[in-house]
């Protein structure tokens, strides 16, 4: 218990003191995860929508594959992305390994399947409701998908939050492809892993408290935005 108390005290100390290293780590964590969300949503949502709406042979298999992607261990993804970005790998010439860009790529690969799988469920539910209407109005193909994405925007915000949560809290990918380099690729989770390995458990836990507070803040903001939009529309 004494350790927990100390953890909160050290978290508070870091926050109140506006520790510059902490600010750097927090800002990098937020930046990387928010940026990674953009390609994740741009790729994952149309993918989820397509699998939800299109009827093609092997669709059941595609659904299973999407759901499996959600359960891929981050370490495995980290290793795959590492092998891709490694100098000896196919994308080695990009010089992305051990840079923030590598973190973005890694988190994108991690989050895209989650976004695709969750949005597939959202779109299947919406499609049941909208299918006949959209077909009757003459919307088909990409047009129908675009309309459905717009109609499902409220549910997709939840998908966005889930994706953000997975990105900002994962450590396996970040350690392997980012290298946890001080002032360059050290983010909240890798910093926590580092302090744990240094045996500074209160500091590690303090960083954990901050990470939790951060996630909470983002969720509250997003939900407030959702409420505001709903109110404006109703």
């Amino acid at each position: 218990m004494a350790e927990l108390t100390e953890a909160f005290r050290s978290a508070l100390g870091l926050i109140v003191g506006l520790d510059p290293d902490l600010l750097e780590i927090v800002s990098l964590s937020l930046r990387v995860s928010l940026v990674a969300l953009v390609p994740s949503m741009l790729l994952g949502i149309p993918l989820g929508a397509t699998v939800a709406i299109a009827r093609f042979p092997g669709r059941g298999f595609a659904v299973v594959l999407l759901n499996l992607g959600m359960a891929l261990p981050p370490v495995v993804i980290g290793l795959l992305v590492y092998l891709l970005l490694s100098r000896s790998g196919p994308l080695g010439d990009l010089s992305l390994l051990f840079t923030p860009g590598a973190l973005v790529v890694g988190q994108t690969v991690l989050v895209t399947p989650l976004v695709a799988a969750l949005s597939r469920q959202v779109f299947e539910d919406h499609w049941t409701e909208y299918e006949e209407t959209l077909r009757s109005l003459g919307a088909r193909g990409a047009r129908a998908v675009a309309t459905l994405i717009f109609e499902a925007r409220h549910s997709l915000l939840t998908v966005l939050l889930a994706g953000f949560g997975r990105a900002i809290t994962e450590v396996g990918v970040a350690i392997i492809v980012g290298g946890n380099i001080n002032h360059l690729t050290r983010i909240m989770t890798t910093a926590i892993a580092l302090e744990t390995s240094r045996g500074d458990l209160p500091l590690a836990l303090g960083l954990g408290v901050i990470l939790l507070a951060l996630s909470l803040g983002v969720n509250v903001l997003a939900l407030a935005a959702q409420q505001a939009v709903r109110r404006a529309e109703a």
């Binding site: 990098l28 990387v32 100098r87 790998g89 992305l96 973190l103 001080n182 744990t196 390995s197 045996g199």
Partner: protein, 270 residues
């Protein structure tokens, strides 16, 4: 569609470029002991101030660090397992191995010392006692320099430990700090480098029990990755780092580094 794809590819570059890119940067693959002890945080800023070269440290186990360098993902290797380093150079992946510094390994364990190894002074005899009493021993089990050294010491003690779920010999498969965290909870014995031990904050029930045996010497060497194998490697800057680490200035800095008043590393005389 093509514009979207281009945007996605470009995002990692535009959105997350480091705030102030140093004119030249090196990637150094090193071990957790050099980082966790705080040595690199002390040395590298001095090197950067002198040369303008920023060094980015990826701290992993020695085995993994060598693998990183072998793939061309690092410019410089700074690890502590001489045979592996020499092999790396012999295979043509590295230019030359320079000895930099040494510290020593120490055997730590429960304060109550159930295996009775305290102040034996002889690490082989101590390990034999641990095995004979079947007191838990925590091995890194991760192909790190410390793990390799530990295996060498078991051989010296003529014990062949085999890891098993219920057995006394347990592999954590984790870094030094994580292994020490495990050892102080169980409690059990563990081999650690002195630097990590001194800087380690969560000792609680653990004590340093065996030290000073010549077998426990832990030597660090630096190797620049061979640009003939990986043309993108910044060999010139890497060479400056290796030279600086072994220069008078570098050796003085290593010798001057203290944690809690204790010296952690000792430069090797040329």
């Amino acid at each position: 569609m093509r514009a979207v794809a281009a945007l996605i590819l470009a995002l990692p570059f535009i959105a997350c470029s480091p705030s102030a890119e140093a004119p030249e940067t090196l990637i150094m693959a090193s071990t957790t002991s050099t980082r966790d002890s705080g040595l690199l945080d002390d040395l590298l800023p001095r090197f950067e101030a002198e040369t303008g070269i920023a060094v980015r440290v990826v701290a992993v186990g020695t085995g993994r660090a060598i693998d990183l360098a072998r793939r061309g993902d690092a410019d410089v290797l700074f690890v502590h397992h001489r045979p592996s380093e020499l092999e790396f150079v012999a295979e043509g992946f590295g230019l030359e191995r320079l000895p930099v510094m040494y510290n020593d390994f120490v055997l730590v364990g429960p304060r109550e010392d159930p295996a009775g190894v305290r102040e034996l002074g002889d690490v082989a005899a101590a390990l034999a006692n641990v095995a004979a009493n079947e007191v838990p021993f925590f091995s890194r089990g991760d192909d790190s320099g410390t793990h390799k050294a530990e295996l060498r010491l078991w051989a010296a003690a003529s014990v062949e430990p085999s890891a098993g779920a219920s057995g006394w010999y347990r592999e954590t498969g984790a870094g030094m700090g994580a292994t020490l965290n495990t050892a102080n909870q169980t409690p059990g014995y563990a081999l650690t480098d002195r630097g990590t031990w001194i800087a380690f904050r969560n000792r609680s029930g653990l004590d340093l029990l065996v030290e000073g045996d010549p077998l426990l010497r832990n030597e660090y060497g630096v190797v620049v990755v061979n640009p003939e194998r990986h043309p993108h490697v910044k060999a010139a800057a890497g060479k400056r780092l290796a030279d600086w680490l072994t220069s008078d200035a570098g050796r003085a800095a290593i010798a001057a580094y203290r944690v809690g008043g204790e010296a952690l590393f000792f430069p090797i005389e040329r």
